[in-house]
């Protein structure tokens, strides 16, 4: 990519996001909860309005013009997702309601493929979405859940991963980037080593997709999942990428319309991919808007996004560490623009409450990753997560607000 395109014009980008002009509790909004949900550019909002204003109709079934237009737009969106993830075929892209839904499709699908005593491996850094469905799978099948532990920096212990892998290992699932700490996991190695013992791999890309453009073919990953709402897209839409042969061998997750070939009361045969996993009317508008969101982010460019966010991360880390008694959790050299921290002897909930009063939106709590909090023996953290539309000036406001909260609370 050209150097001049690499430079991201944040002031211009901010103009694309109407919500950034909002005030909260009398102060300009400083939105640092991007790891939970990203904000929506006008172009995506327009696509949503356009859909409901012009061609709202059910897809894949009507002969009329609106239905055809909606179907075309939805399938174009699927192609955009395919290209973005570099999947080999567009039917390897299942549009779901989010990363959680995607993981559940796979975890449920493995119910008949695992037997008692088989092993599946999870990482210590997971979101509950990538833990609980597998625990449920273990309950159904008698498979055993093994955990790759983490170190103090919030990195996975790859030496122990090596020891956990064996010929009983059937599946490995881990996130690409940890939502609670921001650690970027070495998924290339994780995948390669799992494949070497014949295990398949699901990567939870919910947190990586906002920062990194994944190439599922280069990764040779079996399943990759993501959520549109963390990628400037709408809520309630997500992706399950699966290798064609895997998706063909897994059973459908839900029964209903769309997912059938023939239905009689004696026997129903299922539709081919991707419809087999898309029972019922999907979020048509959301899928289309997701395609627009991907275009938007690709126009800015993921290299430029990553460069700029790393700059924000370095700046934010240095500034926050100037505050006495502040400790950052997740200190890997390989991390994205997520800073999880606490102030000595102050509860994160209190800090979050005061920050909100000053218009600064952060997340507090366990971030749906209780095992990580247990590891550090803390009730939770304050998490500031930066996106490409944030600025250093906003980080200054955060730092000032944290100082004030600290003063009030100690």
């Amino acid at each position: 990519m050209q150097k001049e395109i690499d430079m991201l014009d944040v002031q211009k980008i901010r103009e694309d996001f109407p919500i950034l002009k909002r005030k909260v509790n009398g102060s300009p909004l400083v939105y640092f909860d991007n790891a939970a949900t990203s904000q929506t550019p006008q172009i995506v909002i327009d696509a949503i309005v356009e859909y409901y204003s012009n061609y709202n109709a059910n897809i894949h079934r009507g002969v009329h013009t609106l239905s055809q237009e909606a179907t075309d737009a939805y399938e174009i969106a699927r192609k955009k997702v395919q290209q973005h993830f570099n999947a080999k075929y567009s039917h390897e892209i299942i549009l779901t309601s989010g990363a959680t839904h995607s993981i559940n499709i796979v975890a449920t699908g493995f119910s008949n493929l695992l037997s008692k005593g088989d092993e599946i491996i999870v990482s210590a850094l997971e979101h509950h979405s990538n833990i609980v469905p597998w625990q449920m799978l273990c309950e159904r099948t008698g498979a055993i859940l093994k955990v790759i532990p983490m170190n103090e920096e919030g990195e996975l212990r790859m030496d122990i991963y090596d020891q956990l892998l064996c010929d009983k290992t059937k599946l490995v699932f881990t996130n690409h980037i940890s939502n609670a700490l921001g650690t970027i996991n070495p998924i290339e190695k994780i995948i390669e080593k799992a494949h070497a013992v014949g295990a398949s791999v699901l990567i939870d890309g919910a947190q990586s997709c906002p920062h990194i453009k994944p190439d599922v073919q280069a990764l040779d990953v079996d399943f990759y999942v993501a959520s549109a709402h963390k990628l400037c897209g709408p809520t309630g839409v997500g992706v399950l990428y699966g290798k064609e042969n895997w998706l063909n061998s897994l059973p459908p997750y839900q029964g209903g319309g769309e997912m059938i070939d023939q239905v009689t009361f004696e026997k129903t045969t299922y539709a081919g991919l991707p419809h087999k996993f898309e029972a019922g009317t999907p979020d048509i508008c959301g899928g289309i808007a997701f395609g627009v969101a991907l275009d938007y982010m690709n126009t800015i460019g993921f290299d430029a996004i990553a460069d700029y966010e790393n700059e924000l991360l370095d700046y934010g880390t240095a500034k926050l560490l100037e505050i006495e008694g502040l400790k950052i959790y997740g200190t890997s050299k390989n991390k994205t623009s997520v800073i999880s921290f606490n102030i000595e002897n102050i509860h994160p909930y209190d800090v979050g409450t005061i920050l909100d009063k000053m218009g600064v939106a952060v997340r507090t709590g366990h971030h749906c990753a209780q095992p990580i909090m247990d590891f550090y023996q803390i009730p939770g953290t304050i998490r500031a997560s930066f996106s490409f539309y944030n600025t250093k000036e906003e980080i200054d406001i955060l730092v000032k607000a944290v100082k004030k909260a600290k003063m009030m609370l100690s």
């Binding site: 509790n25 509860h347 939770g380 009030m408």
Partner: protein
């Protein structure tokens, strides 16, 4: 004083503050001055679920009046608890059951009463009232 009178008194106190900072500073003060719950009552059974911060509540009845003690690991939550305890502690179970908590709104802490806020204040009020209902049943 009746619950109603205490609530009015609190509303009066809070009306002296001009902005959120003063209100929160006062609440933090209240939180710090909350008489601590006996360590032996800080057990899991007394924890109120649904809070980001831990909240413990304990109740005893003495002379037909309920005495509450409580604690939290978050200071703002503790401040709110202190206010609630001031309102409810030392009252007859029936009065606690019948009391409304609209005064929270009037003192500018409405956001803490939202059922979706993960501070458990709503669950806490429910818990205080549950204790009152339990003791009321004993009295009947």
């Amino acid at each position: 004083m009746t619950i109603q009178e205490i609530q009015e008194e609190i509303v009066d106190e809070f009306s002296m503050f001009d902005d959120w900072m003063q209100r929160y500073e006062y609440m933090i003060e209240l939180g710090k001055s909350l008489p601590l719950i006996d360590e032996k009552h800080k057990i899991d059974e007394n924890i109120i679920k649904g809070c980001q911060s831990k909240v413990w509540v304990h109740a005893v009845m003495d002379n037909d009046k309920i005495e509450f003690t409580a604690d939290s690991d978050a200071i703002i939550t503790k401040g709110i608890i202190a206010i609630l305890i001031r309102v409810f502690s030392g009252q007859h179970p029936k009065a606690i059951i019948d009391a409304d908590t609209n005064f929270i709104d009037k003192i500018g802490l409405k956001e803490h009463l939202s059922p979706t806020r993960a501070n458990g204040l709503v669950s806490m009020i429910k818990q205080l009232k549950m204790y009152a209902i339990a003791y009321q049943t004993q009295l009947n």
